[in-house]
């Protein structure tokens, strides 16, 4: 990996292609959840082109994927602004695919919340709260990684997540009680 990165830094396009191949899925999904599949391709491509240009500035303080997510995050935000998308960043992944109670999980555990209710609750969160929920819960980033992507301290991410879950709990409380 290091050698691949080093070669890509020296301008080896094939090494850069390998990096793209390795991280494309994650970056594409990251973009698609924010912008939708139509804009995700452009955003992912721009992310890797920008990464190729600025690879020398990558200090390897964090993981390469986190660094790429940071670039993708900025591109998503810029694209969203440029195209004056009515939908804010982070909303694409909440697009309705159906309503009603969620199907039982694979392990047979009973669903605690209704999908539509959860979607509504997530929509009601502030953008900053929704963003950290997406980064941590969906993208699987640690607090530190999410903090780097967003450019905020890790404590802020922790605090936002705490409040986001508090809000979700409050929004879903009646159902929780019913389910319980």
């Amino acid at each position: 990996m290091d050698s691949e990165l080093e070669r890509a830094r020296r301008g080896d396009r094939e090494a850069m292609a390998q990096i793209v191949d390795r991280h494309y899925d994650a970056v594409y999904c990251f973009c698609a959840r924010r912008l939708g599949p139509d804009l995700a391709q452009d955003a992912a491509q721009e992310t890797f082109i920008t990464a190729q240009k600025r690879l020398k500035s990558f200090g390897e303080v964090s993981a390469l994927s986190t660094w790429l997510f940071g670039i993708a995050h900025n591109h998503c935000r810029n694209l969203s602004r440029k195209r004056k998308a009515e939908m804010a960043v982070c909303d694409s992944w909440l697009e309705s695919e159906g309503s009603g109670p969620m199907a039982p999980s694979e392990d047979g555990e009973q669903n605690l919340v209704d999908r539509e209710a959860l979607r509504t609750a997530l929509h009601r969160l502030s953008e900053s709260h929704r963003e950290v929920v997406l980064l941590h819960e969906v993208e699987g980033l640690t607090y530190e990684e999410a903090a780097e992507v967003l450019g905020v301290p890790a404590g802020t991410v922790k605090s936002r997540l705490h409040h986001a879950f508090q809000n979700l709990r409050m929004a879903l409380a009646p159902r929780e009680e019913v389910s319980a």
Partner: protein, 447 residues
Amino acid sequence: MNDVREDLKAFVDGELTAERMAEVQAAVDADPELQKEVSFMKALGFEIRRLAQEPKVEGRAKALSAVRSRKAFWLFTPGGALKTAFGLGCAALIWLAFIPFLSRSGEFSAMDVGSSPSSSAEMAAENQFSRKEWDGGGALSESDAEMERAKASTDDFNARTPAAGESPQNSAAGAGRGLYSPNLPNAPAAMPQAQGGAQTKEAKPEESAKRSDSTTQYRSRSEAARMVIQNADLRVKVESVETAMDDALKIALSVGGFVENSSSTNSAKDLTGLVIIRVPSGTFETVLKRLGELGERIGPPNVNSVDVTKQYADFAGRLKVLHAEEDSYVTMLRGARKIGEILEIKDRLSQVRQEIQSLEEQRIALKDQSMLSTITAQFEQKKAVGEPAPPQDWAEETWAGAVNGMKSAGRFLGQVLIVLFVYAPLWLPATAVAYWLVRKSRVHAAS
């Protein structure tokens, strides 16, 4: 309890320190409410992950192609560096090619500034010379042919009736040299035009060396044929008027000229001296320059040049006709028998001879004027003798200073603009390239 609740999410996510994890774990174990909350958070996280469907990945090949085909910034590629070096080399060559051109044009400018008002005759000669070069150097122009005709008639006339002050020897010597030389008063100083041509060549040896023999010969011939009356007035501010006038006399004598008139005026405020000198026309520009160097020249010299070649040739033609008429009258007089006829012929003969004499004198005067140029130099003392500088009004002084400052600023601005204009072939492309690079980098940064 509130503190534990605040860290509950981080506890679920395993983002707490080991110590804090142990504390929260103990609190959760002791409190069923917290256990219920932890369970809900875990379930909520699970549901959120389930809600976020994994998108179908598309566009991988496009991204790979974009990355593979993307060109590095041209300056940092080997080819780009080579192109840059080549471009810089070309720019250097252009620069080197421009330097001699600019410096040469600068010389020309300086020469023109220094002597342009006084060198109209030379410029005319240059133009004539250039035109003849374009004509091929061999074909004679209309004026040349006219001069040749005038030369023939003059030679014929001189051979028959030498004018006052002329010697057959001079005529014979001049006949072999040029158009008007037969009539020169004395042979050594007789060819000011030719001398002028020689001196011009001496003043610019490098230029004359560059020119071919044929063109040099042609130039000499054309200069010898020209008759130009040159007059100039100049004003010079000098430290000492007396010394300057002496120097002017010396300058005139050193080139074979003389002082025609000299006077000085000493008023209450100013001491001025006026010197009119006559110098061989070939030394006209040299003398003018040397006089200007005696002090601080006030403005450019006022130079007036008149080409009298055609007028001189016309005199020659008219003289020929008059001499023929004179001959016929003389013949008639020899054959006349009656007193009345003799008196009438003599009267006519006298008129013709007077006319011949008048024309001869005019021709000599014309030649004299063309041979010897007139320079009127007015010298002004820098500081009035014996008089302290008159006190000036402070407002006037300030006004004059401000006006001078504005003039200087305007002149400086003009110089800057001229320099920018002249050097535009160098800085304009460089600026355009720089602008293009900056714009390109901004576009890349924005994208």
